[in-house]
Symmetry: D2
Amino acid sequence: MVLKDKLVLAYSGGLDTSVMVKWLGEKYGYDVITLTLDLGQREDIKEIERRALSIGSIKHYSIDAKEEFVKEYIFKAIKANALYQNKYPLGTALARPLIASKLVEIANKEGAKAVAHGCTGKGNDQVRFEVTIRALNPNLKIIAPVREWNMSRDEEINYALEKGIDIKPSKSQYSVDQNLWGRSIEGGDLEDPSLEPKEDVFEWVILPERASDKAEYVKIGFEKGLPFKLNDEEKGGVELIEELNVIAGRNGVGIIDHVEDRLVGIKSREVYEYPAALCLIEAHKELEKLVLSRSELNFKGLVEREWAWLVYSGLWIEPLMKDLQAFIDSTQAKVEGYITLKLYKGSMRIVARESKNSLYNYSLATYKEGSSFDQRDAEGFIKLWGLSSTLAYNRGV
Amino acid sequence: MVLKDKLVLAYSGGLDTSVMVKWLGEKYGYDVITLTLDLGQREDIKEIERRALSIGSIKHYSIDAKEEFVKEYIFKAIKANALYQNKYPLGTALARPLIASKLVEIANKEGAKAVAHGCTGKGNDQVRFEVTIRALNPNLKIIAPVREWNMSRDEEINYALEKGIDIKPSKSQYSVDQNLWGRSIEGGDLEDPSLEPKEDVFEWVILPERASDKAEYVKIGFEKGLPFKLNDEEKGGVELIEELNVIAGRNGVGIIDHVEDRLVGIKSREVYEYPAALCLIEAHKELEKLVLSRSELNFKGLVEREWAWLVYSGLWIEPLMKDLQAFIDSTQAKVEGYITLKLYKGSMRIVARESKNSLYNYSLATYKEGSSFDQRDAEGFIKLWGLSSTLAYNRGV
Amino acid sequence: MVLKDKLVLAYSGGLDTSVMVKWLGEKYGYDVITLTLDLGQREDIKEIERRALSIGSIKHYSIDAKEEFVKEYIFKAIKANALYQNKYPLGTALARPLIASKLVEIANKEGAKAVAHGCTGKGNDQVRFEVTIRALNPNLKIIAPVREWNMSRDEEINYALEKGIDIKPSKSQYSVDQNLWGRSIEGGDLEDPSLEPKEDVFEWVILPERASDKAEYVKIGFEKGLPFKLNDEEKGGVELIEELNVIAGRNGVGIIDHVEDRLVGIKSREVYEYPAALCLIEAHKELEKLVLSRSELNFKGLVEREWAWLVYSGLWIEPLMKDLQAFIDSTQAKVEGYITLKLYKGSMRIVARESKNSLYNYSLATYKEGSSFDQRDAEGFIKLWGLSSTLAYNRGV
Amino acid sequence: MVLKDKLVLAYSGGLDTSVMVKWLGEKYGYDVITLTLDLGQREDIKEIERRALSIGSIKHYSIDAKEEFVKEYIFKAIKANALYQNKYPLGTALARPLIASKLVEIANKEGAKAVAHGCTGKGNDQVRFEVTIRALNPNLKIIAPVREWNMSRDEEINYALEKGIDIKPSKSQYSVDQNLWGRSIEGGDLEDPSLEPKEDVFEWVILPERASDKAEYVKIGFEKGLPFKLNDEEKGGVELIEELNVIAGRNGVGIIDHVEDRLVGIKSREVYEYPAALCLIEAHKELEKLVLSRSELNFKGLVEREWAWLVYSGLWIEPLMKDLQAFIDSTQAKVEGYITLKLYKGSMRIVARESKNSLYNYSLATYKEGSSFDQRDAEGFIKLWGLSSTLAYNRGV
């Protein structure tokens, strides 16, 4: 008997990757090992495992990676105020390098020759998977069946029926990816950017019109740039994010609807639900404005743009990431304090902030008597501040 | 009889500048000419004129500069998506160089030797006035009485009573500046950044809790980057902004509450009402995402930061402004189309967009069959996209 | 008789493209039309034409594009102080989009179905050609034989001999590309970055050791950012650059030796000769420092980086290019004056500069008595300049 | 007897600060303590001490701070490739915060109430001193006599003669500042930017015309971004820089002549001698190009600009400095290897580089057979690389 080579497949439990378990065996002759990470996607990991094995996976790994996801990925995103194109909190983008690193880990452990993923050839995720995999183990062959097989959705379903694959094709017209950090929805009617999303798009965030009639206040405590308290109660990261997802979601806060530039050069209309993420990033930014100097805030803005771009474009392993991280970590030492958000029917507003490291100085800022600011200093300042521009304005006249 | 030198004072009608009309005559011996611009501040310009003359102004100029303010200042800010520190739409900052240029114009016409303004020595406005004035006419003496006189508010009131100056000291604890583009509120309780603003702070924006129970949609049409239609009706700029201020305001949209870095090095807590501005900038950004390339969007982000900083910091006359403007204008030629916003109890969300210049390409973007995107191209792309990072990741290992 | 489809080949006259004339006919069945541009590459364009036709080109176009190259490409590079990675003046990169646009022009005129170029799959030039071609006419098929055929140099020579192709294989170990703007040398011993280039690498620049013992001064006059005078004599762009190449070259000035990041992710060791380019860019930069404000200089630095990157990476047709150009052109209106360079045995130093738009102001700058600068202004300036940093330095202490 | 307050003066031994020792006592009634740092300025520190005491200093501190200057200031500048406006290696700018911190240290130790420095009100150094002093001890009064006293040079000399102050007024027309890192020359004929500097300006660098007729090679070894070997011999930082100053200087390398924007808004013509600095920075940059990824190099360029600007503009204590430093240090871990420079009569060229962390990969880069680069990957790469630009180029057409 000839021993087959092994392949590790990132298995989500959905139609595409279920078909792949079979197809990779038939087309390439691999023994397929499946891997599913629990990243807080609110799915039944046990059931996914059962299904994988039923289709023909020779071995299945289920890994609860929520803690690692929060500590090594989401927390860095919070410190970086990471929003690609000022909108997208990068949930899927952050998860991909983590899944890729587990794929490589299992492949190395199992002596597998190849890994496979279920991404399309038109999106960003293929890049995020493959760049990380290739960096961590350049000898692994990478197979991306969707790029090769040219099966339509109907053909996939037929293939599944024919092969006796246990699938429950979603009745939804949308394509969804979700984890602890947020939920991305694409496809269906959303592909027409001139149409407002229907209510069935949303699962984590209630429509503002249906939210409570009373505003809800949330107070978030930060230490070294990271959230550790919710309404004065200490929480671990996973728990804090899960709870805040619920709180903001029930107040209609967390919907993003915009047009985004994918790495591969295509614009796409994206709808997201990121209740906790939007609250945490807004609160974190406000706290930074209280404790960082103007120069720090200004330059950190450039660092954040670059950080978000590298993550979005699949370059998690790019050495510049660690350099940017060193910068960011250096800024966060003093980012400590409390921010209060008011959530109400889809609106979110910061209403109060406190920090023992606050640079807000009442006695300097106040317009009342007794200010410690000597107004006469301004006169010389203004003259020299405007000198270069004024000279240049009148040059050659 | 000795002829006195003339001075032109930027006169707002408030306590400070009313006291100044007298003080400048007494302290410096000037004949004081007063100037008031109508920039859409919703005040009675005739009444301001009457008051100025009653206090002792030898001549008063009232200028309706709303059109000029919109065309030469606000429209540029829209094209630049101008938000200082990603928050402040720069209403006061945009008005100052316009007022300064009128001050110089009148001073030149009247043969005045000096100009004066009512700004404090702790804020940004003094810089914006003085840099512009000095660039336009370096020979004019600039007097900033508030920086010199060390009068408290009570002393000012006493001085006014003593000199028979007709004042109606505001009962509000806040210091307010407003024009067509927005309303800035400082002082009083707001100087404690840990307190939520009270309801009496707001005049243009209704509290979300009191707003209509029905969402309101607004459709904004843009041409060359500028708004020209509101809900399918063509409008001039002044009218469009005024109407949108009302519409957004009645839906609770337009409040900003944040901590800001003033140019002079102080952090201050700022509360703003900018209903139309926030809607127009958000809509304009979304339209740009539809019609500009990723590279244009990315670099324009840097240009916008710089534009906002120069305006905020009083350098309207800096030659770099015209260079940035040339860049921005070049990007705007194709920024044409319609954006629909949904406003509801304090929340604003873009729900639809259309443009004949749209770069969104359904046949490329769709996940359905029949896409014109060749997925096999992705394979080579990913390898080369990640090559430099991957090599570097493994360097020296 | 069946009519064959036509293809237009960018023909250099070298081994690769000579073999292609035959190979494209044999392999793909095209009628091959050849195109050669005179871009100042110091080769015999007539002889190239003769050779093309002798190999089997059915029609040859020779186009003198030197003027267009200077006006539409090189002059823009001067205004942009364009140096990729602060070193490479982009000669080859600038020529590629011009050649590509001529390829498309001839293809359209001839009704050709395809175009071909001689670039390798490891370099930047393929990108520059193909992106421009695809933007200008997406219907043209693009063939890059070198990427396909896997012929070694020896196999190419054998193929040529076998087919009776008239070639004069260069005896040089180096691969060279040159035009008016400069000369690039790769390959051979240069592929070892730890070896100093041998003397036979250089053709345009004499080794410093062999240069004249007397320093030579060159005075360059600029108008609107462009050179128009050499040593007080007016010159057209082509002539001025050609002469300056000779002058700087004979003084040993113009050699660049560095390690460069190619777009495709590879580092390569590049040796260049750019005598005129280095002088013109250095002089242009110095003149800008005299007439632009600090803010303009600072931001233009960012624009220049982006401009050089877009050109290097083949995105000449990216709309951002025209936006950056608008910025740059706006800065150049006042860039007028004279710069004197001293060239001596490989060294170049600016020794004098003059401009009627100079912002250098003796009476402000001088340390002698009679300065018009009021030193007391500095006191207030320093306090406010350092205020934010000082507060932040002591935060949380 | 009334005890006088103490003041610590940064004493250079020159005319200005010698006059100050007396003047500060007479005008302000202080007991003046003097402080002189040895920063490698090639002056007789003992003689300076003798002079200070002879004029009336009640106590003199001489501190050899060369090691600290190299480790805490110059080495950081090398890692940052620090060149303000791409030209000035910041020697004076780096020394000022060090001197300021020693002033504060001594003032604290002596219980002094004030410090004083000899800077003019038109330059950058006053800012560098005062911002640092104010951050380290806001209670110290800072006195800058030159800004106050309005004495011309002749009046200073008369004052000195009158008070019996032992001065040797320099016969040079230039104003010079020098330390280990370089030499700055201002004033005299140099204030006319259209005049070539005369030979008497230069002391550290021989004129190229008088340099040796034989080229000299220098090989510099780096570890973690810092130079530690010169021509294969290990050296401490101070020694290495001193020797390289001599080597480069004798080959005519190290002269900078440009127009610079001072912080206070004035342009000035600056001439510098920085032989070691220019060699070390050029070598360091080249080594970085060999071992850092393209993304790292690109972003580090922005960090370097900011670093140089903060140092130039006196904000050494700005917290952003430590953040930028964290970024830079993260990039330097792998910056290890050898760079060979060829110096010849004023020209400097890198001719060879080696590193065990080199990312230059011969088998990828070579144009010879056997390359490990798969050229077919390029095809897909080019299509997707150009897609966004191409779509945008044709938008709305």
